[in-house]
Symmetry: C2
Subunit: 219 residues, 2 copies
DNA sequence: AAAAAATATCAGGAATTCCCCTGATATTTC
DNA sequence: GAAATATCAGGGGAATTCCTGATATTTTTT
């Protein structure tokens, strides 16, 4: 059997080693490299040309797992990407699949599930843990039924996401206005559009959203 | 050599397995149990009576690693606790040491450091990674110099920490008041005392503090 | 045990800020 | 050329912030 050359991307060394050792149990898998952030992941992937990349979704500094995946799939469409994530979030699922990843598995998963996921991904299948698959199918069916209500999954604009992060971090409108060199009124507009687009009512829901998305990284 | 019976506490299964496999390399270490949160950690520790507990500092649901450590050291003072944490924070260091843990190591650490830490802790020493030890010594010396300025490291009261979490999560004063069944005025008082005690000026600093402390967990 | 400090609760008032509504314009993107 | 984006504004009511000040309970220190 062909040896699967694998790259592991996670910002925590011990987590990387853990995954590496887990995968090391399988003789047909060889870990050829590690990366600690999205940028490094892209560089290493280009030089190492791995068959499989296991990537953490939320990596604070700079490029996160999703952006890295999107970029990687452009240059290396044949490389399979398996996303490892902290939390089960339906919205992530869509983004991850759209970004071209072949699988989505929780860090909370049991070890055997990781192996199943790797196997499935290498066979060219898409692996999603059962409940994720269920919600994907449900949403797809719903979308078809009532004529493409995909608006919910539309992304925020760059500016809006930028503002969202500041809001979630607890910056006041005034502070954000100063930082971005725009008026408070503009900040308010962005905020209200964000709330609209994400269908949120309360600020704490917005914060929860940002946390889930891994936007509240620590610098 | 005596076999060291070890309990691993982390809310992510894959991280637990990773640490378990890392430790499994050493013949004198036996992982006798795992726990996913502070409460479970306490229960398992009491029934398993391990020699060493490797504990994640930030665990969302209910009891976090710090509280669990504090409680554990009461009932099992002989058990060594090695804290595994995401981020390097000087304040955590003090709390961790005060809570009775024997070591503090970053998840970002290299594997050999984990082994050094385990060895040191088992010999009854306190293990801190180099920069942590440095800041601890520096602060100690500073404290001695200008007559005990330990007030900065005083803990918030339970109620204050409770309120802090809600604030950081983006709840409004009114919402917090309703949730805790107290008046808005009381919430304001707590908030201002928190800002005073932590010497913070802006709300986003408070949020950053909460993030660092791992108080903004996702449910 | 008595005194002191910390904790948890609440209030009034004034200035500031936020929230929500409508509405506008220039640029970019599709 | 229509849609999305990014910018700004006015106005009014709600909420927050910042100040002082109060009281009862608990904890700690002397």
């Amino acid at each position: 059997m062909q040896v699967i050359r694998t790259l592991i991307v996670d910002d925590h060394a011990i987590v990387r080693t853990g995954v590496k050792m887990l995968l090391g149990k399988k003789e047909h898998i060889e870990v050829v490299g590690e990366a600690a952030d999205g940028q490094e992941a892209i560089e290493k992937a280009l030089s190492l040309q791995p068959d499989l990349i296991i990537m953490d979704l939320s990596m604070p500094p700079g490029k996160n797992g999703l952006e890295a995946t999107r970029e990687l799939k452009k240059s290396l469409p044949e490389t399979h990407v398996l996303i490892l994530t902290m939390h089960d979030d339906e919205n992530d699922l869509f983004r991850v699949v759209q970004a071209g990843a072949s699988g989505y598995i929780l860090k909370n998963a049991i070890d055997s599930e990781l192996f199943s996921a790797v196997d499935a991904v290498l066979r060219g299948q898409v692996y999603l843990y059962p409940s994720a698959a269920k919600s994907l199918v449900e949403d797809f069916l719903e979308g078809v039924k009532r004529g493409e209500d995909l608006s919910k999954y539309k992304l925020l604009s760059n500016r809006e996401e930028e503002v969202l992060v500041f809001i979630a971090k607890g910056y006041s409108n005034k502070e954000i206005a100063e930082i971005l060199h725009i008026s408070v009124k503009t900040v308010e507009t962005h905020k209200s559009k964000i709330m609209d687009k994400l269908d949120l009512q309360k600020k704490h829901e917005l914060v929860a959203y940002a946390i889930k998305k891994g936007l509240l990284s620590l610098e």
